[in-house]
Symmetry: C2
Subunit: 311 residues, 2 copies
């Protein structure tokens, strides 16, 4: 049995120009569920992970707007809520698709805590923009009041920045492995997982954001997957991206890709972590790391499209 | 090995007079985790369920206040979010307590869909108040706009009422049984579970609220538990509650309790469903249904306090 971690990107739930209503997202989830069911029908044991950028932003914004009436929640808790929000949509849509295809398998979402190192240098250098946009004077007040770090966002306005530490371990790993071994389909480490640190034998949530592709590589290592499939809205990672020399990367050995990664071919905020996730996954013993377009997942698994990283 | 479903009431996370900040709730969860760990230490296989009244109210209120900026979510999705919010607090607090006691067990929250009958008469007679309070004219506008049913709440103001259909099945039941059999501790059917109906072989969320005690009895049936322990803020169910003749019910046979239930001794909004949950659990083959105070759970399991329902 082949085992695969499928990491869903933002386009699995939201398409350009949509407002982000629940039913828009649910309809996209139903479409995504067909791609996932295709993979399952092809005999793969599937573990699903997903991003949560727009959804966690929406929840933080609701919390901010309602803060005089309802006490706002910290970021780790907002991440947990997005695991449920997105997990529920995918879980229900995929379960329905499997029933339709007469595939007798249950799907479930696990609220997942991902351990980061409390000494991770990311904590001294927050880089990830989250939540609402503020005017400079509001931002300065929030920095004083709440101890947040805030910076001007290149897209305009000031925003909170949080650390993006490296995922090191998963608290619920035995449960994850058990369920995958028993043939169940799980949705785990959503939004990169709830970031927690371990101090004095105690786990504690921290206000940070873990990259979902790096978390997916870690899930792949833990469940001993053969394939990590990162689904996004482009068909390939590109060399010299955005220049006249840009060139898609098709099948590539991990060593060669690592060289390109170190040369800075990939944007730190988008393609970079996907490439790094594939590199790590292969170095940890995986057979294939694939970056492909959501709608071409079947073709990518046949080797017909996508950036395919091999040992 | 004895197997128990522990249903946590509102006081497991919020105490009277508290505002409901996240850290208040987390501190209460840490305290609740000690009671849960005591039960686990006593050799029980534990399945945890919980209510979500204040939390789902808070999320619906945030959605309402922010609705011009962030598209609001339906009630079934808000329920899912509370499963994550509350589940995460209990999961982390209990995991920490187990580590402290050197008990090597993992805890996880499962996003859980509970099936209700689409022909349940509750759908014609919504009774459960949820979400914010409105003025009459706002309420009438919302009824026209959204098709909501709204009624004056005895506590003042108009509120939305939703159906409270009977829980019939759990979509993720095989996963639940597998994890319990493997010795893992799960938090499931939070807030009574996400209500879904099955139509044309497809599950679909509905805007309703399932009673968490009735859902807990169903969980008990599905995992084949010996004991259903409903933890609340009183020590006993009472006969003639609120009258000078009121009298605590201690150990009682299910047939006798059923007679009292039918005579209307228990308030439909609070003790009634707890009593009914115990009656159902025993009729389905359970050994003991217990209604007890959260802080006396250990004593209740020894038979020293609480209403104890037996076959």
């Amino acid at each position: 049995m082949k085992r695969i971690v499928v990491a869903l990107g933002g386009n699995a739930l939201l398409r350009k120009g949509q407002k982000g209503t629940y039913f828009e997202q649910l309809n996209n989830a139903k479409r995504t569920a067909k791609f996932l069911a295709d993979i399952i029908e092809n005999g793969y044991e599937v573990v699903i992970t997903h991003g949560n950028g727009p959804q966690v932003g929406a929840i933080m914004l609701q919390n901010e707007i309602a803060k005089n009436v309802v006490p706002p929640i910290p970021l780790d808790v907002a991440n947990a809520e997005t695991q449920a929000l997105i997990g529920y949509m995918i879980q229900q849509s995929l379960q329905n698709e499997l029933i339709k295809r007469k595939i007798d398998k249950e799907v479930v979402t696990l609220i997942t805590q991902v351990v980061v190192d409390k000494d991770d240098t990311a904590f001294h250098n927050p880089t990830k923009f989250i939540g609402p946009y503020y005017k400079e004077e509001e931002a300065r007040a929030l920095m004083r009041e709440k101890g947040w770090v805030m910076k001007p966002d290149p897209r305009g306005g000031w925003r909170r920045v949080v650390p993006s530490p490296d995922p090191k371990d998963i608290v619920e790993k035995d449960i994850i492995c058990d369920l995958v071994d028993q043939g169940f389909i799980i949705i785990t480490a959503g939004g990169g997982g709830i970031p927690v640190i371990r101090e004095n034998d105690t786990y504690r949530g921290v206000e940070a954001v873990i990259d979902k592709d790096l978390a997916s590589a870690l899930v792949g290592k833990i469940v001993n997957a053969d394939t990590l499939l990162i689904l996004t809205d482009v068909e390939y990672a590109m060399l010299n991206f955005g220049t006249p020399d840009q060139k898609p990367i098709k099948k590539i050995k991990v060593k060669e890709l690592e060289k390109y990664y170190e040369e800075g071919h990939f944007s730190p905020g988008s393609m970079g972590p996907k490439v790094l996730a594939c590199i790590r996954f292969i170095k940890w013993g995986g057979e294939r790391g694939i970056i492909a377009h959501l709608e071409k997942s079947k073709q990518a698994l046949k080797g017909e499209t996508g950036t395919i990283v091999v040992p």
